[in-house]
């Protein structure tokens, strides 16, 4: 079923030629600015195109994330790639096939109803004609606008849509080169960049005399507090960076980045406030009881497996950058702004990197590469960050504090719900025609300072994501205190505020249920009229066999968490089993997911599994620490993530809804998984930990306080 409204990507890129091309015989080339981050989007886009064009997948080539040829779809983010990018591709390809049928009918002087376009061939009354897609395509005006009304292929007839097609990119990744890191151009130089030791540090002096004579050093370039080096070989650049670091004298200052007690610190900071309120408090209920609880999450690092990397070349054509950025078009604009050149002279081309979970250093390293490439015209320059810089200088997921107050009646009716959220910005990605937010730009002479938080302080701000509980509450009030002045750089990390808000909301639901003496599943269902929400909870309960380990304080228990991501994407309910001995161990996780129409079921399951595991890692282990000047969690020892022996068993069930529109899943499981862990720990220990991560120290502290 076609949606009534054109998706944003089609509105912005309305012509068929922006999406599909038949100029190479035997191949349908489709163009998408949605890029592969490890989530399988390129395979899904190929599945969609193959289904709508009625071609085998082997005849479909996806060109992804290239400013020279792709439609400008801005970022690959927000679990919108299938919802918006996929639906747009579906419309474009359905329209292309319809155009082919219409034109073929004219060319064969036949009625449209006797024509079929199938597998690349034009069939006339079911038999092959002299025409195929490609010789018909030559006669079509591809400047046609996409109407969105060409009928979609039926799921039942498709060999690609709704099928667990194996990832197209995986074979290369298990056999050899496939990442931006592995990309090599003739004459390419290898570079490194020296980062300041702390926020606000200034480079007082730099002695490079010892480095200049090292083997392979081609160029050392300093501008202000930025120093980069280019060498013939990569390890030469590693050594040169060591030497440059040794010859640099910095002056540092306190910036009061203090990691102790986010729950105390954040509410004291300057804030920009917004408020939403809905419903009426019932006035007839008596003997009401008020509950209040405050929750927090620390800053979290992306902690990609690979340090960020980019390749750039400056030549007569201008600047060309190969990047693992999530937004080639916004990056093109930001680079042009930072470098003071016209955007038309910049080409940005996506190459796969390690998993990115939001706005990490991919864009920053692209500017590093561009700056150094400008110093060595016509020579490609490859820059790779260090592990330490990746953990310390990538934008972080913002710390948050959430205070919730609720009023319940003696029979457990929620009368009132109000929450206050304190959060730094989550949406500070580079914008094409706005402020530059690229690390190196702030260190240059003259600097382009980091912009003050430009994320709109409204209900669209990332901190508000999932702050509205999905429950039918008579009255609720949400106040968002946006904090523009955090002393460190924060931006988009998977789910934005959704992870912490769902953790808090779902923890509080359990606290209310406990106060009312009601089973947490039953309590949730009381306040859910949406049948899809009820169904995921009921499915998870059935999978897990709730109630499990119901007895309190015995060290083993189950917990539940539920959310509909953004209140508009996929519905996910998660039940976990935990065992708490010295540490918390999540042993089993059961998840039920309603993602509407699913393009690739195994791809969705893989995303949900990964989302759960990453969330368990965030929830039990992760926090970025500071010493007053700098991030001190710079290695995998200092910033541990979940290891193989700590990963739970997983069971995921998809609820099929082939007639519904597709709903994003990439960020849908993290919040529910965190809440389920917290609720299970609370039951296992009879102690509620409200400050993440749930470490041994936090459990002891919470136990002492309660």
């Amino acid at each position: 079923m076609n949606p009534a409204k054109l998706p944003w990507s089609v509105e912005e890129n309305p012509r068929l030629s922006q999406w599909v091309d038949f100029s190479e015989p035997g191949i349908a080339r489709v163009f998408s600015a949605k890029v592969e981050l490890g989530q399988g989007i390129v395979t899904a886009i190929a599945q969609i195109a193959a289904a709508e064009l009625r071609l085998p997948m082997s005849k479909v080539v996806v060109v992804s994330g290239d400013t020279r040829s792709c439609p400008n779809e801005s970022y690959t983010a927000g679990s919108m790639s299938i919802e918006v990018g996929g639906t747009s591709m579906r419309m474009a390809c359905a329209e292309a096939r319809r155009a082919i049928v219409e034109r073929a009918a004219i060319m064969l002087n036949a009625d449209q109803s006797s024509i079929a376009a199938e597998g690349g061939l034009i069939l006339l009354d079911g038999a092959p004609s002299k025409l195929d897609y490609w010789n018909v395509a030559r006669e079509i005006d591809w400047q046609l606008p996409i109407s969105g009304r060409a009928p979609f292929a039926a799921l039942a007839n498709s060999t690609s849509l709704g099928k667990s097609i194996a990832r197209l990119d995986l074979p290369a990744k298990v056999t050899g080169a496939s990442f931006i890191h592995d990309f090599e151009l003739p004459g390419m130089l290898h570079g490194r960049v020296l980062r300041p030791p702390s926020y606000g540090a200034r480079l007082e002096s730099l002695d490079t005399s010892a480095v200049k004579n090292l083997p392979g050093v081609v160029k050392i370039w300093r501008s202000g507090d930025f120093v980069g080096v280019c060498c013939d070989h990569e390890y030469q650049a590693v050594k040169a960076l060591e030497g440059i670091g040794a010859g640099a004298r910095w002056s540092e200052s306190e910036v009061s980045a203090d990691s102790r007690g986010w729950r105390e610190l954040l509410p004291t900071l300057r804030s920009i406030d917004s408020e939403t309120e809905a419903g009426e408090r019932p006035t007839t209920l008596k003997n009401l009881r008020q509950l209040s609880a405050t929750y927090s999450r620390p800053p979290i690092a992306h902690a990609s497996m690979a340090p960020s990397c980019a390749v750039a070349v400056y030549d007569q054509q201008g600047l060309t950058v190969w990047t693992h950025s999530q937004g080639v078009f916004p990056l093109r604009g930001a680079l042009a702004n930072a470098l003071g050149i016209d955007e038309s002279h910049v080409a940005v081309i996506h190459k796969q990197g390690a998993g990115v979970y939001g706005h990490n250093a991919a864009d920053d390293v692209a500017l590093d590469a561009a700056l150094l490439a400008r110093q060595v015209p016509s020579r490609p320059v490859r820059i790779q960050w260090t592990r330490e810089d990746e953990l310390a200088w990538s934008p972080l997921g913002s710390p948050m504090v959430i205070k919730i107050e609720g009023t319940i009646s003696p029979t457990g009716d929620i009368v009132d719900w109000s929450s206050q959220i304190w959060s730094g910005p989550h949406g500070q990605r580079p914008r094409p025609h706005g402020p530059v937010n690229l690390l190196a730009a702030a260190h240059l002479d003259p600097p382009i300072p980091f912009p003050e938080a430009y994320e709109v302080m409204s209900r669209f701000a990332g901190g508000a994501r999932n702050s509205e509980p999905a429950y039918d509450l008579p009255h609720r009030k949400i106040v968002l205190h946006s904090l523009p002045g955090l002393p460190f750089r924060t931006s988009a990390l998977r789910t934005l505020g959704g992870y912490a808000n769902v953790f808090a909301t779902e923890s509080f639901m359990d606290e209310l249920a406990d106060a009312a003496g009601v089973d947490p599943v039953e309590f949730r269902l009381r306040y859910l009229s949406d049948p899809r929400a009820r169904r995921v909870i009921e499915t998870a309960v059935k999978l897990a066999g709730w109630p499990l380990n119901g007895e309190r304080g015995k060290g083993r228990a189950a917990g539940i968490g539920f959310a509909r991501y953004k209140n508009s994407a996929a519905y996910v309910a998660v039940i976990v089993n935990v065992e708490v001995d010295r540490d918390v161990r999540v042993s089993k996780v059961f998840a039920a997911v309603d993602a509407g129409l699913v393009i690739n079921p195994d791809g969705v399951v893989n995303q949900i599994e990964g989302g759960i595991v990453q969330s368990v890692s965030w929830t039990l282990k992760e926090q970025v620490l500071f010493d007053g000047r700098r991030v001190t969690t710079r290695t995998w020892d200092q910033y541990p993530i979940l290891r193989f022996d700590e990963v739970p068993e997983l069971a995921v069930e998809l609820i099929e809804r082939p007639d519904s529109r597709p709903l994003g899943v990439g960020e849908a499981a993290q919040g529910p998984a965190a809440a389920a862990v917290a609720n299970a720990v609370a039951r296992a220990l009879d102690v509620r930990v409200r400050d993440l991560p749930i470490t041994r120290e936090r459990i002891v502290a919470a136990g002492t306080a309660q």
Partner: protein, 161 residues
Amino acid sequence: MSTTHTIVVNRQSHQVTVDHYETPLLYVLRDDLRLKGTRFGCGNGSCGSCTVLVDGHAQRSCELPMWSVEGKSITTVEGLGTLDRLHPLQRAFIDFQAGQCGYCLSGIIMTAAELIGSGGEPSREKIVAALDANLCRCGAHTRIVKAIEAAWKASATGVVR
């Protein structure tokens, strides 16, 4: 001071000259021999992305100075199998769709290659123990363990597809 070393990589002998005597094997594999399936992750042996086999043992190539691998036989993921002749492990990773971004996979596959090559009864516990120092950030762990288990069972029983 530059030094010259002879190493055998994927059954082929190479003589390479490096500028710094402590140049890690990783950079020689990637930069000189252009075998880019071995990946840099951290540079101090704590993530496992750069794992290769040195005389059959899984080792971190980012921490192995060239002088320490003189004359040794090294296997990288390229030497394990190719797209048209996949090793059972590579085959299993594709069959189980055991990965998301895939950056950690070659190191994990090489760690598993030593385990499988060492014989013994396949077991999930042994796999998890062997992967103790390999990190994956996307959360593909459970699929990875299943893929290795399947490949190990297949090779233990001689049923290699």
